[in-house]
Symmetry: none
Subunit: 210 residues, 4 copies
DNA sequence: TATGAATGAGAGTTCATTCAT
DNA sequence: GATGAATGAACTCTCATTCAT
């Protein structure tokens, strides 16, 4: 969203260059607490505690609690779409595209676990807020992407002809993202491994193939 | 004014049934609002507005906001387990059991949509609260039930031998219940129809079988 | 305050004749609860519970919580002054007057324990309320009565000449009435016995006389 | 801004002492209002008004209204028992002990008037609350202390042989402490003067000695 | 950069009171 | 006489936010 700090003369109240490391740290802390307790239930004081400072001090770094949430979500979505776009640009066949997208998604869950969980939980409530209109935009883009892949897959015989496309879309979408609620980075399964297993279930089912 | 039920056409033969009806109405309203905005973000005033009364009036019927949540969740879980237990008592083969459980689940989503959505969203935060310890109990029972069915299915050849049981359990669990977030009763698909489609994807995959 | 029901045609909402027994019962209950928990801390519902009815039902008998308090206090004060006036009319010597007044007071504590405790605790807060102006009146009358007796006693040599009259008045007043906070009717000491012991301490001191 | 106490004339050498001072101020204010209107009847807004701040601001300094009450009472009792213990350690004869204890009590009324009045009024209601169990403890210790002194006094001939010890204890206890309800610091009588007069009445009675 | 103290807008809850039945 | 349901004002407490230092 910001094409890198090439304009050092800008004089924003909120320093975007002064201590980016501290900002990132604080955002990571905030994301974790938000994810664990929910955005509303999380007090700004709790975040500050976790960061070893007082509540008021956070306002030197951020305009508001909402702007923290905003930054966390945009950070995640920018990253996610960069990966998705790379996959779509390569444009392999439908089955390979699904595989690549699901794998990319699990990698994002691995990198941005808290943000993903947060996104899952808060996204619906935030829909009406103009500041978060990009969430609806992303959702739309996401839906188009998946519906397109599924439609092409059915047309080309990669996927079953009797598939209810919209239902299958929801099935895929939910199935992948809820994983953020139980996934813990550094566990026994790597994101790629989980992706592989999920894909095998989704593509071929849990019943044995003849 | 009514000298006991001598007039069977009277609308309220048993006046002591009137109160529970009002309670149920209010709980339904509360569940909807909770599900839409989240438990924390929902004010007791909002529920009262929706019910056409003042905030304080709710306290004639309920002890607290929390006790409303409690009643909503127990109402749903009691109902759910009655159905599950019926299925488990019948004890058909693993594939039929999965089919029956998933179908029962979608029927519950149909009957208790708000409660299910609420359960999905709030259950994790409520874990630590002793009052809601039954949530953890239910979760445990649920997990045992599914792991058992899957294990038996793999052993008997009903399910693929290479299945990661725990992963498959999570996959099934999440896949079914998140549907509550988008399902709207009275839509184009009946719960049974959705269950059928989900089961076909879960059991046989989205890729065509040879 | 009401010279007995000689006007049966009166049509008050609050029936003063209909069921005087029930009223008295309810007032006794209210007085007890008020005395135990304090007027403010006592909910109208608590009184109703104790009386075996619902909160709203009390309003058939009384206009308000405050009017219950009012009736309790006037009932006590009317009774008290009837006794005091009898003593003052007899007008014996100062030492005998003190004896008679203190004995009468302990008898009132015995008969109206709850009302006395209530009076002790709430009287100061009620001072500003016009409805309870009779409390200040009573207090004034009370003070004059005691100061008069003490003054006469000092002048006549019945009491010590070096007595600080105002201090002695407060000493006597408080000493007697706080007993309501621990006195329980039906205990080992009769009111007369307690009065006798108190008088012996007050008049002659706890140190032995030569 | 102040590089440690190099400037002894600075008004706040130890900035960490500033906060306790504010707390003490606020507690004094709260105690006064509590004493005047009663704990229950006192709103937190009233205290805040009196302190020149908003109700919510009090919660920066205190956890709850109850914790203010708690601090006020413990502050008083700690102080009181320090004095009493000093008297008991010196352990003079019974008559001198009574004199010392009563004098100490009046001094405490002088220093903690509001707290004493509060203690008198609220102590009974607080008995059941575990947080205030120290009130019952103090009461017990207090009773033992007085009963002991009186018993020794009677045994040694310092007090009348016909004294009902328990009754005399209550008499002394109440007599002294109710004074808090009318005592105003800075009046015509010093605490020591009031103590002297009270003692003369209690020890030798109001009737003249032969 | 961070603190300490305060603000002000609500939140959940309580309770005396009303009133149709 | 009493009930059940509701009102509405007030209460304690929470929390995002501000700002002088």
């Amino acid at each position: 969203m910001n094409d890198n700090g090439t304009v050092p003369t800008s004089k924003k109240t909120t320093p975007d260059k002064a201590a980016p490391a501290r900002r990132a740290e604080l955002l990571a802390t905030a994301a974790q607490v938000f994810a664990e307790h929910g955005y509303r239930a999380t007090t700004v004081r709790r975040i500050a505690d976790e960061a070893g400072m007082l509540a008021g001090s956070l306002y030197y770094h951020f305009d508001s609690k909402e702007s923290m949430l905003d930054e966390i979500l945009t950070g995640f979505l920018d990253d996610l779409w960069a990966r998705y776009d790379a996959v779509l640009t390569a444009a392999p066949g439908p089955r390979e595209t699904v595989t690549a997208l699901v794998t990319a998604s699990f990698r994002e869950i691995d990198r941005h676990r808290a943000a993903v969980a947060l996104y899952q939980k808060e996204s619906p409530h935030l829909a009406g807020n103009p500041r978060f209109s990009y969430l609806a935009d992303s959702r739309r883009k996401f839906e188009e992407m998946w519906l397109g892949v599924l439609r092409r897959g059915v047309a080309g015989g990669d996927f079953r002809a009797d598939l209810d496309i919209r239902l299958a879309y929801r099935f895929l979408r939910d199935t992948v993202w809820v994983a953020a609620s139980w996934y813990r980075p550094g566990g026994t399964h790597s994101p790629e491994e989980i992706a592989r297993q999920y894909l095998s279930m989704v593509l071929d089912g849990i019943a044995p193939r003849p």
